[in-house]
């Protein structure tokens, strides 16, 4: 049989598509083996996230959403399939290399903030740059600049224990941004916050997204998910639905989604 398109054309076409995707996952499988039991968590996922998108991943507990996030964040390995991050195939790699990749491409935001308790706000924000080998002066300056942007400049020398949840999450966001990543992975970023603060945090994330950084949020809150451009729903390790939200023109439209 002869192909309709000449081979080369197809290759070029694929390349064009590739360069638009920041995260591309093909037939991703992941099992956890504990003793004689094998738990098949991810059963062949296909996900394509374009550069600059803001996507939420939803699913009940056990749906595999955390596992997926760990794999996307190169915190965990996968068994089968392919995962391209910024067009680079992420395979089993040394911890050192994985750490370098995380440092370069990914910023993490966690539900419990995961700030280092004995470091002040500025030091926490600056830490990723320490591992990048940036001088203290430069990284602190950059950290202060970011804190300023997030309205926390006056709090730079406070320890995390002296700050509110919303402030802590904003510091965590600043920390995830400081190494200028391509992707922000947020694992239940509003899980520990009240509704008002949640929205504030999400607004910040949207702002971050508007600068061109891809944002992926794992959440189980519909109203949060509805504020993103696309929702990927996982159930029992497969994608249940993957649909684009109606573009949200202004804040007033939240009301529609807030009420279930």
């Amino acid at each position: 049989m002869q192909s309709f398109y000449p081979l080369e054309t197809i290759t070029i076409k694929e390349k064009v598509i590739m360069s638009q995707s920041i995260i591309r996952v093909n037939q991703l499988h992941k099992s956890y083996v504990t003793g004689s039991n094998s738990l098949h968590v991810l059963k062949g996922l296909d996900i394509d996230i374009k550069e600059g998108e803001m996507v939420s991943i939803m699913g009940s507990s056990g749906s595999g959403k955390s596992t997926l996030l760990n794999i996307l964040g190169i915190l965990d390995n996968y068994d089968q399939g392919e995962y391209y991050l910024n067009d680079i195939l992420i395979q089993k790699m040394s911890e050192r290399k994985a750490a370098a990749f995380r440092n370069k491409y990914i910023g993490f935001i966690f539900q419990s903030f995961n700030l280092i308790s004995f470091k002040n706000a500025m030091e926490n924000v600056a830490l990723p740059l320490y591992y990048k080998g940036v001088s203290r002066k430069k990284r602190n300056a950059k950290a202060l600049e970011l804190l300023d942007r997030l309205g926390l400049k006056d709090w730079w020398n406070h320890l995390p224990s002296e700050l509110s949840g919303g402030q802590k999450q904003r510091i965590a966001i600043a920390r995830s941004l400081i190494s200028e990543p391509k992707v922000i992975l947020a694992d239940e970023p509003t899980g520990a916050l009240d509704t008002q603060t949640s929205y504030e945090v999400l607004e910040i994330l949207k702002e971050v997204n508007s600068t061109g950084i891809t944002v992926i949020i794992v959440t189980h809150e519909n109203d949060i998910a509805n504020m993103t451009q696309r929702i990927i729903r996982l159930k029992d390790g497969i994608i249940e639905s993957n649909h684009t939200n109606v573009p949200l023109a202004d804040k007033s439209s939240h009301a529609i989604y807030v009420n279930p």
Binding site: S66, N70, G73, L75, D76, E95, R96, A99, A100, R102, N103, K104, F108, F110, Q111, S112, N114, L115, I116, S117, F118, K119, E123, L127, P128, Y130, Y131, K132, S135, R136, R175, S179
Partner: protein, 418 residues
């Protein structure tokens, strides 16, 4: 670099008390090691002090009665050395010998008098070479010399205690004065001090004079040799050959240990040194065992620390810390704790030794026995250097297992245990 140190200190500050407690065990270990080593050195110095006034490779030869019959001669025969023995030894062992001196002891009552003062002292006729075998510090005048020997001069040198005993008037200069030994006047030509025993009341006069005046004829009561041997084996060989020669000359049974005695200082010195080398090794073993206890303590604490900091390490790894940087973090902390604590132990130990040493030195001025038993305990630079190497190694060993544990922490597990 500054960054890296600040990073370590910021975490150490978190657990000040724990760091101090952990460090204490290491400091104590090093402290003990230094004290033990210093004490060992002190004992050794005391021993060496005892050998100080004799040439270290000397042979002291004396004679007694034979124990067994030999060569047709019955047992219990008194062996007497003569000047001829000395001459033969000098000739035969020309290549092995540095100095030779015949000795003639005066036994019994030979009262020494000066004006109205008198006393009984040890009196010995010697040759000028004797001063290189039995070392003394000359205070005034000169030692016995060749002319004294050749011309049978009635010269005498006296130790400081003898001088004090006879010359009550401290202003009076003993040199050139005549003292009487058993009624015979001798001119004092020198005063000396025996560094081994500052209270020793001793007089030396020319060997030839002594033999002539005190019915010695050509007899020698004893002989002393300093050899040019540098090893125990060599000195032992010379000792054996000297013994063989004397045994043959005096027709003594070869297995008669009593008749001719030789004290080999080098052999004894080396034996004593061997004992102290053993003590030193023993001390090192104990010291290192103590330090191992400290290391285990540090290691233990570091493991707990790593466990407590699992989450923090997970965060660091998630935001881009490589396993090596985590290993470095834990190892540096461990090395820093051990090195700082150890250094304090080192300084404390050295300080204590220096203090004790200073006190001992003051005591020694009045009481020589102290100096002989235990003198100048100190840990030298090499010991401190070895201790330092041990410390850093200890820190690395102590930190290794915890560091490996820390590096193996998986960020997902660390971050998801809520």
């Amino acid at each position: 670099m500054i960054d890296y140190i600040q990073e370590i200190f910021s975490t150490l500050r978190q657990n000040k008390l724990r760091a101090i407690m952990t460090g204490f065990s290491v400091a104590w270990g090093i402290f003990m090691l230094i004290i033990l080593l210093g004490s060992g050195k002190g004992l050794e110095n005391g021993m060496e002090f005892n050998f100080r006034n004799t040439s270290k490779n000397a042979l002291w030869i004396w004679s007694r009665r034979t124990q067994v019959a030999h060569d047709g001669l019955k047992a219990g025969r008194r062996i007497n050395f003569t000047v001829a023995d000395g001459d033969i030894l000098k000739r035969k062992f020309e290549d092995d010998m540095d100095n030779f001196s015949g000795r003639f002891h005066l036994w019994g009552d030979y009262a020494v008098t000066y004006k109205n003062e008198y006393g009984d002292f040890r009196i010995e006729g010697i040759m000028p070479e004797f001063k290189k075998i039995q070392l003394v510090d000359m205070l005034q005048g000169r030692y016995i010399n060749e002319f004294d020997i050749k011309q049978f001069r009635k010269s005498i040198i006296i130790s400081e205690p003898v001088q004090k005993h006879l010359f009550k008037d401290e202003e009076e200069k003993p040199i050139g004065k005549y003292i009487r030994v058993n009624g015979v006047p001798f001119m004092v030509v020198g005063t000396f001090l025996d560094p081994e025993d500052k209270d020793k009341k001793q007089l030396y006069m020319p060997l030839t004079t002594t033999q002539r005046i005190f019915n010695g004829n050509n007899r020698l009561t004893e002989m002393a040799i300093s050899t040019n041997a540098t090893t125990v084996a060599e000195n032992k060989r010379i000792e054996d050959e000297v013994r063989d020669l004397l045994i043959e000359r005096h027709r003594v049974a070869p297995d008669d240990k009593q008749a001719i005695g030789i004290w080999n200082t080098l052999e004894n010195f080396k034996q004593a040194q061997g004992v102290f080398a053993g003590i030193r090794m023993f001390v090192w073993v104990i010291g290192i065992m103590t330090i191992i206890a400290g290391i285990v303590g540090v290691s233990n604490i570091m493991i707990i620390l790593v466990k407590e900091r699992t989450k923090e390490i997970g965060i660091r790894k998630a935001i881009g810390a490589s396993p090596f940087s985590i290993i470095r973090l834990v190892l540096s902390e461990s090395v820093l704790i051990t090195a700082l604590a150890g250094l304090m132990g080192l300084i404390a130990g050295m300080g204590l030794l220096a203090g004790v040493s200073a006190i001992l030195q003051q005591v020694a001025v009045e009481n020589q026995d102290v100096q002989r038993a235990f003198f100048n305990p100190s840990a030298d630079f090499n010991v401190a250097l070895s201790a330092l190497v041990i410390l850093v190694t200890a820190g690395l060993i102590a930190g290794y297992i915890p560091a490996r544990k820390a590096a193996a922490i998986r960020p997902i597990e660390a971050l998801h245990d809520e």
